[in-house]
Amino acid sequence: MLLFGKLAVWVGLIALLASTVCYLMAGRKSALARAGRGLFFVVLASILAAAGTLGTMLVTHRFDSEYVFEHSARAMDPLYWFPSMWAGQEGSFLLWAFWMSIVGAALSVTSGPSERRVMPVFNVTLLFIVSLLAIRSPFLPLDTHGLPVPTEGLGLNPNLENPWMVIHPPTLFLGFATLTVPFAFAVQAMIWRDWDNWLKRALPWGLLAFSVMGLAMMMGGYWAYEMLGWGGFWAWDPVENGPFVPWMFLLGFVHAAQINRIRGGLGKTTLLMAILPYVTALYETYLTRSGELDKFSVHSFSTLGGAANSILLYGLLAALAVGVGLLVWRARRVPSSPGKWDQPNSREFAFLMSIVLFTLCAIISGVGMSAPLITRIANLHDPSIHLASVHEDFYNKANFPVALLIAIGLGLGPHLAWRERGKANSDLLMWAYGGAVVLAVGFMLLSRTLGTPLFGFHLAVQVLLFTTSAFALIANAILLRQIRPAGQKRIQVWTVGGAVSHIGAAVLLIGIVCLATFVHKDPNVLLIQGKAQSVLDGRYTMTYLGQTSDFTKDKNNALKFQVVSKDKKENFVALMPFAMRAIQGGEKKLFGHPAIVHHTAGDLYVSLKDGPDLFYKTPLFQPKVKLGGVSRVGDYTIKFVKFERDPAAAAFVQQTGQMPEVFPVNGVVEVTYKGKTTTYSPQNIRYRDNPAMPDSPELKLPGGWLLSFQGMNAGSADAANPNAGSMEEAGSFGLRADSGPPTEAFQLEVSTRPMINLVWIGTMLLVIGGLVSMRRRIAEARVAAAEPDTEPVTAEKTPARRTRTKRQAARVR
């Protein structure tokens, strides 16, 4: 099996080389182009065979394979055999190669006369992935050090056992594979000076890549929201910026393509925008997998190591050098009509600015993500510069003005007329503007009633972005009505793509603003079994009902709690997954995932405040409080003011250096309950002959709970290093409910995620709009293909070239 998989990869590699050679030589013989295509299908078959082999090994639990042993287990749900396929580095390269070969096969069949020029370029990009696969093979035997082959594998990280992980990575890698096509078309255009056809054929692929990547990022965001429990869906982590930067350049590409198609301008920019998504996607891969971000990243994959690392780096540099090098070399020959950007109220200007803004956004995110690399290089020249990464705030703040300008352009741009057609229809825009202002007033009123902590500058900034986004939404909705007149030909229905995407972008921006403005959080909620607890200023009452089974035994266990809204209209039981899971064959650990209650107006998001320590079998809490420190348990706040040794006993210790028979110590605490503070001093007595300290007698607190003083560390835990633990001079206290049998309790964080659905809906609309546009551009390319493709014009006068052109021209006829 292992041998077969390895063999398949090598056959693929050789077939790929042969295919490339055939295509390159096909200029002279069309049979060779057919051979090139045939060989590419051999590549496809061998990559499919390799993927099939890995799949079979996973399904049949071949733990003699290192990859299968490390990423799967018998005990797994069969659904998660899929994420096992791509959980490791090797598997993810195989997934990449898988999509690349499928996309390549589709490309070879659909690209018509461009095939023998675009396929060699595409083949080289695939060669790069397949050679990584050959070096970092998923088909290595497990080194058992002479022991028998294990009967069970390590399994998957439980966080990856989620349905989204079944579809998110394949979608993302499909995006990476499709964005390679515009790159390949641009490179072949510059080599063979194919200025007429490349864009027509590359644009549908660019739109597909844009849609697929958008979908993939949304899935990744939803996975984080559902599994990780920090409540967000985007954190500007390198693995998120990774697809985001190419995505922005893809946006730049589809906008530049419009200008290039219609006005013939921006020739070089369009080529650059076709090159950059691929280059930045490679850059992201290098950054997250080479160990370059080792000190900084959350998700950084394990270091690829040695040869694979170099291949990645050289591949990236080669792609950049080839792409940009060709562009510089051909700069003078790229046909481009001079731009007419001087009129800010022209459509040309709007398109140009959109490209500029997407590029700015990509640069901000790309530079932020590269901070560790940049500071490392700076450090080589000037040792006083420290290695550094950037704070998450950088992305939010730096991208804000860009997002604001994008929102303005989003509303105005599509309504602007091309330069020679004069002024835009400003009446409709006034309506849109009026509507946006009305919505913004509603937004501000809502932010008051929801009691958000935003005031002054922060609120102003959010209102500004909200208003421009709402304006963009209405303006594009008006546009949607205009371009959908009844009784038109079929192809015209597909012209709504742009407007739909623009509406999606506006909805997404509105969603983000609402989320940031209206979020309402209750960070410290204590739920005791059977006891109703009011949360979010009384908006809901929550009662913990118990577990569905037993978290120590059942991996599908969940915590059940009842949620009742203030008006009693909502009354339901929510489940929070909570169970002991083994991490990759290691020790068992508790995994809790947030409980999300979906509403049309926004989610109720309940996540565990803490791990196992705060899940109690009895309602006894034992806060350890530093001297002068504060601890909170439910409604109680306990401040450890001081401790008082019994004066007689203390004097005895001073005089004799020995412990007295009985040594009473008072722990003086201030307990605050519902705004009222009372001082208590429970007494704990140490006995010389019994080193175990019994608890002090319990004191009754307001609210019915009992307080005891259970002992303290009076000295330093680490005498040599007095600052070591900072836990010295801490007292242990006991707090428990007065009555009832032992019950379960846990602490959690409850928050609202208002209008989060807008984020998902907006992204979906962006994706759908992209797909609709793709459909339209494919149809147009078909119409154009009905007439024979014009061969690249050769202006050079070398005889060899001229004969080739003649021959090619003859074949077309």
Binding site: E70, N157, L360, I363, H391, I583, K609, V633, N721, A724
Partner: protein, 139 residues
Amino acid sequence: MRPTGLIIGVAIIIACLVFSAKLFKTSLINYVPFAEAREATGQTVQIMGAPAAGTMAYDSNEHALHFALLDESGQRMPVVFKGPKPDDLDTAMTKATKITAQGSYSPSTATFVAENLLVKCPSKYKGSNDNGERSYGKA
């Protein structure tokens, strides 16, 4: 014909670039030696070191994890991490070879107050997805 469009466009680009460049400089979280972290009070920095044996203690009601880091020269830095305690924190921490803490030094308690932790474990399983690396904090 006045090139109004060009002027507006260039002005926007320059303004955005200048703003982001300034922000970039102030948003950098520097990797510094312990001594420098002590001087840079109130400034967010990152420090790295090995956890000192036997110093790990978790205060489950204050949600605070106390430990000390040792740098290569054996210097010691007490660290407190306040934040939700992740499920596997203690095992990850006690096994950790290197811990990166992001935060700032508080002179009043002579402690480094960490907002984020990045814990590196010796990778038991070569090539495993997460590199034995876990991060804690809001990211």
